[in-house]
């Protein structure tokens, strides 16, 4: 019995490690093309991925929302980063994939209100079916995927390593954007996105 346990334990741990990957689809791999989308924006227009790829050298697709405290903490950071790159060929595409059934304050109407109130300089798109979050393997808010001009994912993960501005040590997203614009290698291409879990629709 003791021997059986010794042999079986690694198997149990291996199975536990597999389960640890979580129920959601895996994150979009570095070096693969970001799935296309056509989603309604808070500006009342539909926006598709090629629109951004054709205009800029770097497109930051940011899964975020109205309600997550972590997303709220990063909202001013995103506004600051967008202002920082306003004159450079960089697009910021914010996507809200949270279910409004689960979190009513993430409804499209609420998104429109927030975008107006905060004078968003970037598009804020509604992923009502959650198909785009699923396609990208986005799991958190905020969760970033940085695409190059060909739409290939070159960085994924967090915006930086600390939501408290005076304690940030690594500016992961902007470092990746700078490297991409300069045609240099992105040394840290993957980080763990920390934040709220995307609010998935309840199974019917």
């Amino acid at each position: 019995m003791r021997r059986r346990t010794t042999l079986a334990l690694p198997l149990v741990l291996a199975l536990a490690a597999t389960a640890f990957a979580g129920p959601n689809d895996p994150e979009l791999a570095i070096g693969t093309k970001g799935p296309g989308f056509e989603l309604m924006g808070t500006d009342g227009k539909k926006h598709a991925l090629p629109e951004f790829l054709s205009k800029t050298k770097a497109t930051a697709v940011v899964f975020t929302c109205n309600t997550c405290p972590y997303s709220k903490a990063y909202e001013p950071v995103l506004l600051e980063i967008a202002a920082q790159y306003a004159k450079q060929p960089v697009s910021f595409v914010l996507i809200n994939s949270n279910s409004a059934e689960v979190q009513p304050l993430d409804s499209f109407d609420e998104m429109v209100k927030l975008a107006k109130e905060k004078k968003y300089p970037f598009v804020y798109l509604h992923d009502e079916t959650q198909a785009i979050a699923t396609a990208y393997g986005a799991q958190r808010t905020p969760h970033v995927f940085l695409l190059d001009a060909e739409g290939v994912c070159r960085y994924r993960g967090r915006i930086d390593d600390n939501a408290k501005r005076d304690e940030v040590q690594t500016h992961d997203l902007t470092t990746a954007i700078d490297a991409l614009l300069a045609g240099k290698e992105i040394t840290t291409a993957e980080t763990k996105a920390f934040g709220c879990t995307i609010k998935w629709r309840k199974a019917s």
């Binding site: 059986r4 346990t5 079986a8 334990l9 198997l11 149990v12 741990l13 199975l15 536990a16 490690a17 389960a19 640890f20 979580g22 405290p69 972590y70 903490a73 799991q139 958190r140 390593d161 600390n162 939501a163 408290k164 040590q169 763990k192 996105a193 920390f194 934040g195 709220c196 879990t197």
Partner: protein
């Protein structure tokens, strides 16, 4: 499979409780402690390795995380039902969003709203170090189950499945008799 995991949960150590008392593993606040202490990564790791006579459930959460707060009654139930068969240690990650003073106030306020019969502490350290040490997937709630010998036996990504955990503990208790 439960039998195999449960066996690994047993591993009672001679004098584990006595040793734990002697080395003074009181880094985190006890039941009802009004001021959950701040702990660093090393203290947390030491705690998971410390000798004890029962499994340890390490739960990462934050007051700003709605699913984490929603899980608290489940953890209260678990600890109440298994006072001698499970040790729960709740680790707040509020400092990832707020300064320590504010984090402590938020945790205290939450614990006043929902008193808990298990220990609490507040992690103070970097995300990177914690994520690497405990393989955090990036979302909370997230829990790790260690056996009495300090070996990691199960991850719970999301809310702890009470029934599954109780099945493990039930088999474990049965075997130890």
């Amino acid at each position: 499979m439960h039998d195999q995991v449960a066996q690994s949960l047993l591993m009672p150590r001679l004098g584990a409780m006595l040793l734990a008392t002697l080395v003074g593993l009181g880094a985190c606040g006890g039941n009802g402690d009004p001021t959950p202490p701040a702990v660093g990564l090393e203290q947390l790791q030491e705690r998971t390795r410390a000798p004890r006579d029962r499994p340890l459930l390490l739960v990462f959460w934050a007051t700003w995380c709605d699913p984490c707060v929603a899980e608290i009654p489940d953890l209260v139930t678990l600890q109440t039902r298994h006072q001698d068969g499970l040790e729960i240690l709740s680790v707040s990650l509020d400092v990832f969003l707020h300064p320590i003073e504010q984090s402590r106030a938020l945790v205290q306020a939450q614990l006043e709203r929902t008193p808990t019969p298990y220990e609490h502490c507040i992690y103070v350290g970097t995300q990177d170090a914690l994520f690497a040490a405990f393989e955090l997937p990036g979302g909370i709630p997230y829990a790790l189950l260690f056996d009495a010998g300090g070996k990691l036996v199960r991850h719970f990504n999301g809310r702890v499945p009470v029934e599954e955990l109780e099945q493990l503990l039930a088999v474990s208790s049965h075997r130890s008799l």
